[in-house]
């Protein structure tokens, strides 16, 4: 028997008066790290608010572990939520803050303090856990919020822009934590408008645009489905014209374009076939190659293609 997914949206729509926030979204997420992507106003925040019971859907049904979050707070026992905005008790130490929130899950004082120490240690704050949160840097504050979300060992972790405003070291640390949670079999939902960050965390994505679900699944699989946009392979080599002459006769190659005398862009509708074929042709040609890149096999290009801005 199939278990209930952690998150399920069934034909969910949400209107704010005349403005539509989410338009007929259906999706189910369970296990691993999933990135929620979209431009400003795409509906990411509305999606999170619906999940956290702060909005009631105009149509359709939202289920968190099989329960309507608008009607019941019981699924929050299994959810850790990191909100985008800063909402903390700045006068408290991180240990006090995290253990106070742990107690809201029903832990005793001793359990709460023990778990808070473990959670803060997990986010590398064990050396400053008795320092007031108000004296923390932005990255440290984010990590305190993550520790507070992890303290009760949730099955689902929802992170709304967790890397916003963090320095590179803090970003790396937080991304490690997210990946670690995903590898532990937890369901992690993370939103970010910085596409490179999502790419570093996961390949499983949900793309929203103007409230509509535009794409869902593996980043590369989605890209492969976009036949109307040929894949581009950028090759930097010693003699681009000679290489182009060799490539143009090959079946998977759709076209070639010269960027400059040392750069050649090869267009194909079958990326994997092209990548199987091209290396042997390059070796045979004996033309020195400096680099081979797939400039549009990334999230930015994908998002651009899907929402029509590319």
């Amino acid at each position: 028997m199939k278990s209930t997914p952690a998150i399920a949206f069934d034909q969910v729509s949400k209107w704010y008066g005349q403005v539509i926030g989410v338009n007929d979204v259906s999706l189910a997420i369970d296990g691993g790290v999933t990135g929620i992507l979209g431009m400003n106003g795409a509906g990411k925040s509305t999606l999170f608010k619906l999940l956290m019971g702060r909005l009631r859907p105009s149509n359709g049904a939202v289920r968190l572990f099989g329960t309507d979050p608008w009607e019941s707070t019981s699924p929050y026992r299994r959810v850790g939520y990191v909100s985008e905005s800063e909402k903390m008790y700045d006068w408290m130490t991180s240990l006090d803050f995290v253990s106070t929130l742990a107690r809201l899950h029903g832990m005793t004082r001793h359990e709460a303090e023990k778990r808070a120490e473990q959670a803060l240690s997990f986010v590398d704050l064990e050396n400053v856990l008795n320092k007031e949160i108000g004296k923390y840097s932005k990255g440290m504050r984010q990590r305190v919020k993550i520790a507070a979300a992890l303290v009760h060992d949730p099955d689902l972790l929802i992170l709304d822009e967790p890397l916003h405003g963090c320095d590179p070291l803090a970003r790396t640390s937080i991304m490690n934590i997210i990946r670690e949670m995903g590898s532990r079999g937890k369901t992690v939902l993370v939103s970010s408008h910085i596409l490179e960050e999502i790419e570093r965390i996961t390949e499983q994505i949900v793309i929203l645009h103007s409230g509509k679900l535009v794409a869902l699944g593996n980043l590369h699989a989605i890209r492969a489905m976009l036949d109307q946009h040929p894949h581009r392979i950028l090759i930097r080599c010693a003699d681009s014209r000679a290489l182009a002459a060799i490539f143009i006769d090959q079946k998977p190659v759709y076209g070639v374009r010269f960027i400059d005398s040392e750069s050649l862009e090869v267009m194909t509708k079958n990326l994997s076939e092209a990548h199987q074929l091209l290396p042997s042709l390059i070796l045979e040609s004996r033309i020195p190659i400096y680099s081979i890149e797939n400039p549009d096999d990334n999230l930015e290009s994908l998002l651009g293609y899907l929402v029509g801005d590319a």
């Binding site: 909100s83 909402k87 778990r115 590398d124």
Partner: protein, 335 residues
């Protein structure tokens, strides 16, 4: 090669002549920080497999967060030192009759004497310990309520910290009730405990026996019920005002304005038109009216006691409905 020659070769002599680096700096040494090639921070997630406590344990966490903050500064809700100081002054002020009882019992043993009438246990004094206007209901209880309840919900509204509760298994009913209960507990601890302490002190200091207790306990209980109603009403009104504001100052001043202002307006109307009906708008007077009946004092309001009770119920109902509706919309974009 000698040391001097080596130093000359290195140009140290010229540097010293130009910058005077030899003046006591000889022992200074510098090291270049050796950065590691790289570091991988071990991320070991240790799942917690303990049980999660029942609803009351979670609710108690909210309750203690608000109440313990008055005593302990760390790990709980923050109360300004001025608030704590005022609370101390109010507590000490409300305990002055106990001191006077002690003095009167030491000075005079006459049960019908002036000191005993002034400070001893009787209907007027028991009523006055809870519902007396000056200083208790003019200064102490309203100020206590305003300071304790003022920021209870308004702080959460201003900072958005209620979201910390609502992303956890805490229902809005639990949140609202625990906030209310924590405020009511603080008020009860000051108002009712000092009242009980006063009665107990009277028994002890005067060496009263069971017959005295049997005689006075109904009056004492009447005063206790009146005090409980005062705690409930003041908490409800205060928390309702806190829930419609984003500033603890506004909420506190509104409470003081409502409680004291309605009394003053009613008093002015009584002076002008010789009617006590406007006192029905004053929470304090409705409580005082009911309190007089509960301890068996002659009622000094012209209007019916029933009207005061109805008014009191309406005030509490209105306050709690405002509070409930505001809490249901906290952190929510509801239609």
């Amino acid at each position: 090669m000698s040391e001097n020659t080596e130093a000359d070769n290195l140009g140290e002599a010229r540097i010293e002549a130009a910058y005077g680096s030899g003046d006591g700096d000889e022992d200074i040494s510098a090291t270049v920080a050796s950065a590691p090639q790289g570091q991988i921070l071990e991320q070991v997630y240790r799942p917690w497999d303990g049980p999660l406590g029942p609803r009351w344990v979670r609710n108690y966490a909210i309750y203690r967060h608000h109440v313990y903050g008055i005593i302990s500064g760390s790990g709980h809700r923050r109360y300004h030192p001025f608030v704590r100081l005022t609370l101390l002054v109010v507590i000490l002020g409300s305990m002055t009759p106990i001191l006077m009882l002690l003095l009167s019992s030491m000075i005079s043993g006459d049960a019908s004497g002036f000191l005993n009438r002034m400070w001893g246990v009787n209907r007027y004094n028991l009523w006055g310990n809870v519902l007396g206007y000056f200083p208790r209901n003019l200064c102490m209880w309203p100020l206590l309520t305003a300071l304790v309840v003022g920021g209870l919900v308004s702080d959460d509204r201003r900072n958005g910290t209620s979201a910390l509760y609502f992303s956890r298994p805490v229902s809005r009913l639990d949140y609202a009730f625990m906030k209310w209960l924590s405020a009511a507990s603080v008020l009860a601890a000051v108002i009712l405990l000092t009242y009980m302490l006063y009665y107990s002190a009277a028994v002890v200091f005067k060496g009263e026996g069971w017959s005295f207790i049997a005689d006075t306990i109904p009056i004492f209980m009447g005063g206790l019920v009146a005090g409980l109603l005062l705690v409930i009403t003041y908490t409800s009104i205060g928390i309702a005002l806190s829930s419609i504001s984003t500033s603890r100052f506004t909420a506190s001043v509104s409470f003081l304005g409502l409680v004291l202002g309605s009394k003053i307006v009613a008093w002015l109307v009584e002076l002008q038109f010789e009617t006590t009906y406007v006192y029905l708008l004053s929470p304090y007077d409705c409580l005082a009216h009911l309190g007089q009946w509960l301890v068996g004092l002659p009622l000094n309001y012209d209007h019916s006691l029933t009207l005061s009770i109805v008014s009191l119920l309406a005030m509490n109902a209105a306050a709690l409905s405002i509070f409930a509706s505001r809490v249901s919309s906290l952190e929510v974009t509801r239609e």
